[in-house]
Amino acid sequence: MNEKVDILIVGAGQAGAQVAISLRQGGYLGSIMLVGDEKDAPYERPPLSKDYLSADKDRERLLLRKMDFWPSRNIDLWSNKRISAIDSDKQTATTTSGEVIQYQELIWAAGGNARKIPNQNELEGVHVIRTIEDVDCLRDELVDASSITIIGGGYIGLEAAAVLTKQNKKVTLIETQARVLERVAAAPISHFFQDEHAKNGVNILTNTSVAKIVHEDNKVSKVILDDGFEIETDIIIVGIGLLPNQKVIEDAGGRCGNGVIVDEFCRTSLPHIFAIGDCACHPNIYAQNQYLRIESVSNAIDQAKTVAGVILNDKKPYTALPWFWSNQYDLKLQTAGLNHGYDETVLRGKPQTRSFSLIYLRDGQVIAVDAVNSVKDFMAGKKLVENKICPDVQLLADTDIPLKSLL
């Protein structure tokens, strides 16, 4: 079967959906096909480790648009299909089921897969949190589970720990580094979250890793750590990062590294192929043009808008300020900017009050803000970062002075 489209979007997550929406919003009249390998229509992923895991938000409310939206905007949504090869000379993409799609422009928004532990697929009771299906499967097994082991102290692991300990599960979280969130935040933030989780009954073990998973009839029963410590467990949740989906682009001859390499317009090294979202390794002006991947909703949306702009002849480079949020218990963490290469941090407010922020500076300039239950500092922080402000650090730390006044 052969298909011919103007715009082929591969990946029906936040980024892929947003390109299609933005193109139509901008008056684009050509044909658009949106191909996703999941059975669900485009949906939000952030609630998967929060309200959807806790069953406070139902499946339908995760959908980015109602089912009838896509045909109403003349966007041809193909679910359950995966692109397995691209020929960039012929401008064709082939699905695993053999359809060949001829495109004018291809947008690779294929995200990634949750990183797994060795032999994970052969074991029952080991889960990841990336798709609705992952969480449905996890939720089914949680009904009869009492002990949960979470591997990885990143956002997904911590958010899941918060949900599950509130459901009175016995939760142990294992982190190989000296502290949770080590990759993304400075020590005061890590220690604050560790304390909060400990108060809520989560047993956090740092500086250790899993040496062995014991199973009976392929069902996990116990985790043995590298120091010999044993934890009885009914379920293991693995939250150790994402592997960007780049192989098809690589096989087609596109430049890849940690993700698909793109320029400031999200163009890959292959003609007529863009890459956006979690899988796009791009130069970021908030990190001194270092090439990096950002796994966030804001990045997905803003890169989608960049590509839509290029196609609509309203070409502007990707320069949007990265921001991010995480909800755990009654704590709202909001991050503005990127803290890559920070050489100084300023603590603003007292963590004991459960409302404070941590400001990251590089050469005296504010480059990022982590705000905990402090929306004001988050919003002001965005402006400080965007405007490259180099404030007096004494003033930054003084909670009597609004951050806004330092602009």
């Binding site: 952030p46 609630p47 409310r61 109602k66 939206f69 909703v297 949020w325 929306v375 919003m379 806004k404």
Partner: protein, 105 residues
């Protein structure tokens, strides 16, 4: 089914049949008002679902939390009838509510 009357940024007026019990933001999104970005999905962490509501019905849209107030405070376009539409729960009393999408930023 109750209705809301939406004025878009292009000044088009649309009547939307709405569902009670979910937020006004979700109703706008489901109703195809694509300029409502609602990046955070409705957890009051961004400010991309900013609207102006009928001043007479402002009280019926509920209280503004501290977080919502702080988010709105940083908008260049805040007015006294500004709300984040994700924080307004659609109810029968709000039937006929007029909602204007605020400019971006």
């Amino acid at each position: 089914m109750p209705e809301i009357i939406v004025t878009t940024r292009e000044n088009d007026e649309v009547n939307l049949e709405v569902e009670v019990g979910i937020s006004v933001m979700e109703n706008l999104r489901d109703g195809g008002v694509d300029e409502i970005l609602a990046a955070c999905g409705g957890c009051c962490s961004c400010a991309t679902c900013h609207v102006y509501v009928d001043e007479e019905l402002m009280e019926l849209t509920g209280d503004i939390s501290e977080d919502e107030n702080d988010l709105l405070d940083f908008s260049d376009y805040r007015k006294k009838n500004s709300r984040l539409s994700c924080q307004i729960n659609m109810s029968n009393e709000l039937n006929g509510l007029r909602v204007t999408i605020a400019p971006e930023g």
